[in-house]
């Protein structure tokens, strides 16, 4: 189990310390200073502060957190809700797990600050079902908060500052991480994303105005409030301030999580992970979880922030970096990737339901040595039929990796078709 990242910064500074996950230990190391400061502020000013901090959501889309909070209706005619998205199911991503296991109060303090800012009276924390330990730790932490009066009525003695937290276990579907799929699942329905409009800020969980944020997004908030804008804006890049927990997996010497400022060059992060395993050459790197298009060895100079990655035709996503060495068969990568998306598509939208299945069948066929040039044409074409045309971004997430693999590793596909077998005997097993 990964309990300690090799590189730490403000989030993970005390993660090695078991006391930090308990309320007393958290408070002793500066915890809840942010909330104390926050409740001295007007809620609107607090939203403004988070907006000015430039904090971008860490759930994958990188949307401005302050701006999202500002979409919540003002006034108190209807209860407002927060949802903390702890469904973390993107292959290659495992950062939220560490936060919940080692610093659950960071996330909870962030939630409470947000609750004060937008006037939310309740938060549902939706945790991936397989995350047993994180769930236990979060439940324990919530219990402590109730015991110490950080949850319930009149928090920190503030009249009108009431908040409850409910921990909810997911039941094993990637699509329940998509925010409206999550809301359906939370309501006890099949986890299928909702059409938009209406957006969650108008019609969210149980029909109430709702803001959904990622675990890590919430975890940054107390630091921003406690330490101030100047401090935060000095970390990371101009457009993407702060750090993130980069998760490095795949064929590296020391896979793990590394907290580094956004904008850190990709090669440097891989170096922190000990470089490519066994001194082999690098073949490709997925920079932000399996949904994101792959990069080439010559892209190691790219700075890991959305504004730079999008110039290279890919995205930061969740910051889950997947490293593949020279033995890797990229058709196999396409086959496992497309298998995942075929299996996880919720199946509502025609293009996503049918496209993910078809792409997977084609990739398997090519990998098995039964592909034809027509299959390559289909793989060129099908992602374009899916992308940007569906209820949620899942179809994009299914289309982009295939497009990326074909863009950079067409030769691998052509070699399979020409030889009618897989020419990478040493590649990972399917």
């Amino acid at each position: 189990m990964i309990t300690q990242p090799y590189i730490t910064n403000y989030l993970s500074e005390h993660y090695a310390d078991d006391a930090y996950r308990e309320l007393s230990g958290y408070e002793a190391r500066g915890g809840f200073e942010g909330l104390r400061k926050a409740v001295q502020m007007e809620p609107a000013d607090l939203v403004e502060l988070v907006k000015s901090s430039g904090l971008r959501g860490r759930g994958g889309a990188g949307f401005s957190t302050g701006l999202k909070w500002s979409f919540m209706p003002s006034g108190n005619d209807r209860p407002k809700l927060f949802v903390c998205n702890a469904d973390e199911s993107e292959p290659g991503s495992f950062k939220d797990r560490l936060i919940m296991e080692r610093g659950p109060h960071q996330m909870l303090e962030g939630i409470l600050i947000g609750a004060w800012a937008v006037g939310a009276s309740k938060t549902y924390i939706y945790i991936r079902g397989e995350y047993k330990v994180p769930t236990r730790r979060v439940e324990q932490a919530v219990k402590e908060l109730y015991e110490r009066g950080y949850l319930g009525q009149k928090i920190l003695g503030k009249k009108g500052f009431d908040h409850d937290i409910v921990v909810h276990s997911g039941a094993g579907a990637y699509i329940c991480g998509e925010e409206t799929g999550l809301l359906e699942s939370l309501e006890g329905k099949k986890g299928q994303p909702r059409k938009k409009p209406p957006f969650p800020a108008q019609y969210g969980a149980f029909g109430l105005p709702t803001t959904v944020n990622n675990v890590e997004t919430f975890a940054h908030v107390p630091f921003i409030v406690a330490r101030g804008l100047d401090w935060f804006l000095a970390i990371g890049t101009e457009k993407s301030p702060g750090t993130t927990l980069f998760g490095v997996s795949g064929q590296v010497e020391r896979p793990g999580l590394f907290e580094l400022p956004l904008g850190t060059p990709l090669g440097e992060i891989i170096d922190h992970a000990g470089g490519v395993r066994g001194g082999r050459a690098l073949k490709g790197v997925i920079p932000g979880g399996m949904s994101m298009p792959i990069l080439l060895p010559e892209d190691l100079d790219v700075r890991m922030a959305e504004e730079f990655l999008s110039e290279r035709g890919t995205h930061l996503g969740t910051g889950g970096i997947m490293v593949m060495d020279e033995t890797t068969c990229m058709v196999r990568v396409a086959a496992v990737t497309s298998y995942f998306f075929r299996d996880e598509s919720c199946g509502q939208c025609t293009q996503c339901r049918e496209g993910t299945g078809w792409i997977h069948k084609i990739c398997e066929r090519v990998e098995a040595g039964r592909g034809s040039p027509a299959d390559l044409e289909l793989l060129d074409d099908l992602p374009g039929l899916m992308e940007g045309q569906t209820i949620c971004a899942f179809a994009d997430a299914a289309a982009w990796p295939i497009q990326g693999l074909l863009r950079h590793f067409r030769a691998d596909f052509e070699a399979h078709i020409a030889a009618q077998r897989c020419p990478f005997p040493e590649s990972f097993e399917l």
Partner: protein, 505 residues
């Protein structure tokens, strides 16, 4: 009112409507403005999943689904651009990769949106070589519906129907991705009073009704506008006929009456039309010619008038306004009191089904007839339409003249019996529970000698020698006279009514 421009043509549309709704409101959807769609249905909640209705909206970078895009004033929409056509081709291709393409043995062929759109928006040929998703054939979903799962395109119209209309929720889509299958929830069957509507809204041949399945190819059918006669709701229907036979009823949309639905009982009632028909004119319980029976009835009326014997009329809530009007005139001409009528009653529900189990009780009331199931007592002649009044009430009748469609027990006892045409064999109008007058048209040719009640009464009046009465009968003329004489019917007659009917003043 917001204006919406589609492919260069400007439309004024209602406030707060999605693009597809707005076009549908104007009656132009797929007949003037072609935005193909699968999951959207005018009477169900918006699903937004099939993605067939994508259009280009000026100012929006991505294509938008017309079914869930709110019209804003001045919105400019294009469907005639390559981007939209490509998206439509894409959806069609992907819908077809798991479709069995068994049109030659599919009941839906000829009225299948998948087939039609494949021609209009798809591409020729297929690029898939994979086997289809495994799915079941001919699953029995309940008493009325058979499901060919492999044909299902997962538009979820049937799922939403069951949840939203009868609120029974028997159906759901199970599993994920391309393993998704429409199924019954475990332990249920599709058994609700409106179940068969799912077959109408299914865009493909996945859901078929047991009564119609494999009976006939739809291109041999023609659909006649009519009205269900099983209760006073007067649901609008099409009767699909071929070879002088009705093969099915389909709901015909009328937003003021039945939206796009009918109940299963009404839907299957076409099977009752030819049941136990009265085919033989009789006088004194012996078969005779139609002319003889009419003459005998005329004689009985004349004799009663001459001897000062009382004449009464018993109307029926099953016959048309025009038939009732001739009865009214005849009774007035012989100085008889207004007719009475009895109405069979039964269960009702919140949706369509009404307690009055006849189509035209409101029409009888509007013509001044009184609802009563009391006996007329001892009378010389009773002109009786149908058999809604209990037989023993008519014991004191000296000469009972019965006009009926059904070979009921009253026909055994009646002195003069005249076979009447069913509503399916004649033209006319019914007035429903909400006083909406609605036209029905002839669907079938009678296979034996029978006339409408109106025409029979006209002939009886002529045979009785009533002043000004001739035997010639034209239902349109009668309807015109009705609208000129009866209060509330002003301007409402067979020639003025459109397919949606019109409420009485």
């Amino acid at each position: 009112m917001p204006t919406l421009t589609i492919d260069g043509t400007e439309y004024e549309v209602a406030e707060g409507r999605m693009i597809l709704q707005a076009i549908d409101d104007l009656g132009l959807l797929m007949s003037g403005v072609d935005i193909p769609h699968y999951c959207w249905h005018p009477k169900l909640s918006i699903d937004g999943s099939c993605r067939m209705c994508q259009v280009e909206v000026e100012g929006m970078p991505k294509l938008q689904i017309a079914c869930n895009t709110l019209v804003t004033d001045g919105m400019v929409v294009r469907t005639d651009v390559e981007r939209v056509k490509k998206a439509q081709r894409g959806v069609m291709e992907l819908l077809l990769i798991n479709h069995p393409l068994d049109c030659p043995i599919c009941d839906q062929a000829g009225e299948c949106t998948l087939q039609d759109y494949a021609f209009d928006y798809g591409m020729p040929g297929a690029r898939t070589e994979e086997p289809r998703r495994p799915a079941k054939k001919a699953m029995d979903l309940g008493p009325t519906i058979v499901f060919d799962q492999e044909r299902c395109i997962l538009c979820r119209r049937c799922v939403r129907f069951c949840r939203e209309i009868p609120k029974t929720g028997e159906l759901g889509v199970f599993a994920r991705g391309d393993h998704s299958l429409l199924e019954l929830f475990p332990g249920t069957e599709l058994d609700n009073p409106y179940s068969m509507n799912v077959a109408d809204i299914c865009p493909v041949g996945a859901l078929t009704t047991k009564d119609f399945r494999f009976k006939i190819r739809v291109w041999f059918l023609d659909d006649v506008e009519s009205i269900c006669n099983q209760c006073s709701n007067g649901c609008n229907i099409y009767a699909s006929r071929s070879n002088n036979r009705i093969y099915r009823y389909l709901p015909r949309r009328n937003d003021s009456v039945n939206d796009t639905w009918i109940c299963d009982h009404g839907r299957l009632s076409y099977q009752l039309i030819m049941e136990n028909r009265l085919t033989e004119p009789r006088v004194s319980r012996r078969g005779t010619s139609y002319a003889d029976a009419v003459r005998a009835a005329g004689d009985a009326v004349r004799a009663a008038r001459e001897s000062g014997g009382s004449i009464v009329g018993v109307a029926s809530p099953f016959v048309g306004n025009e038939d009732l009007f001739v009865l009214k005139q005849l009774l007035e001409a012989v100085g008889a009191p207004a007719a009475t009528f009895a109405v069979p009653r039964g269960e009702s529900d919140e949706l369509l089904v009404k307690t009055e189990k006849a189509p035209n009780a409101s029409g009888a009331r509007a013509l001044g007839f009184e609802e009563s199931d009391a006996s007329p007592g001892a009378v010389a002649v009773a002109l009786v339409l149908g058999h809604t009044l209990a037989e023993e009430c008519l014991k004191g009748v000296e000469t009972l003249i019965l006009l009926d469609t059904e070979n009921c027990s009253l026909a055994e006892r009646a002195d003069i019996v005249l076979p009447a045409r069913s509503f399916a064999e004649k033209e006319g109008s019914f007035t429903n529970h909400a006083k909406r007058v609605q036209r029905f048209r002839p669907i079938l040719e009678p296979t034996f000698e029978a006339l409408s009640e109106g025409e029979i009464l006209q002939r009886i009046g002529a045979a009785a020698g009533l002043t000004g009465w001739t035997a010639s009968y034209d239902v349109h003329e009668v309807s015109k006279r009705l609208s000129e004489t009866v209060a509330g019917f002003d301007g409402i007659n067979l020639d003025s009514l459109d397919d949606q009917g019109c409420e009485l003043a």
